[in-house]
């Protein structure tokens, strides 16, 4: 369970690499600092790619959770 409220979530299930990451980048760019963003992916590569991108982009990685055969990645825009 999350202790934070998700500002915006993008459902990228069924989208292929690098689709889910692109989705996350798009919503982060459109978001305000402080917003909590989430993306849901069924792409196995996302589990490594999305946290790596969040670290590179110096945003705050909050949680990665399994949901019905997919993974939800949650992060906060901090800059």
């Amino acid at each position: 369970m999350q202790s934070v409220t998700i500002t915006r979530e993008s459902d990228a299930r069924g989208s292929f690499c690098p689709g889910p990451l692109m989705e996350l980048i798009r919503i982060i760019r459109a978001a305000q600092v402080g917003d909590v963003l989430a993306v849901i992916s069924t792409d196995e590569g996302s589990k490594k790619d999305i946290p790596a991108w969040i670290a590179k982009a110096k945003q705050e990685f909050l949680v990665m959770e399994e949901i019905e055969g997919a993974t939800r990645f949650v992060c906060r825009k901090i800059k």
Binding site: F16, P18, G19, M22, I25, K56
Partner: protein, 140 residues
């Protein structure tokens, strides 16, 4: 866009869908990781960027020819975006330039206006090497 000035260059020699797709995805990953990305189109890579060619391109690597039909079919069924739309998305996302090799242009009588608008300029191998200096270069 890029703060660290890291460069990532792709020499795109191949014009088959499988390799164009790999190149477009790798380029996107590099753009996402805030690299300055350049794709240098030469020979069949350049041929694949002639206007509208991508819409009908079903060319596939000869060494995996038996995968051509199933691969093309699965890409449709699973709605995999075309490599061209992946490249366009990458371009919107960050720093990606696609340049055409002047020698190939001369060889096949191709002008910049004959190419897809994602190709921004014609360049030579020497300027490509100079620009790629200090960064990673891969050949596809």
């Amino acid at each position: 866009m890029s703060e660290n000035n890291e460069k990532f260059s792709i020499v795109l020699f191949s014009g088959t869908v499988d390799k164009l797709m790999a190149a477009s995805i790798i380029a996107t990953g590099a753009v996402a990781m805030e690299k300055e990305v350049t794709i240098f189109l030469t020979f069949w890579g350049l041929i694949g960027f002639r206007k509208d060619d991508w819409k009908t391109n079903t060319r596939f690597s000869k060494d995996f020819e038996e995968y051509r039909e199933p691969a093309m079919e699965m890409m449709q069924v699973k709605k995999v975006p075309s490599w061209m739309s992946t490249l366009k998305d990458a371009m919107e996302l960050g720093n990606l330039k696609i340049k055409a090799c002047g020698m190939t242009m001369d060889l096949f009588n191709i002008k910049l206006t004959d190419l897809e608008p994602v190709v921004s300029e014609v360049t030579g191998v020497v300027s490509f090497i100079k620009e790629a200096e200090g960064g990673q270069v891969i050949f596809i």
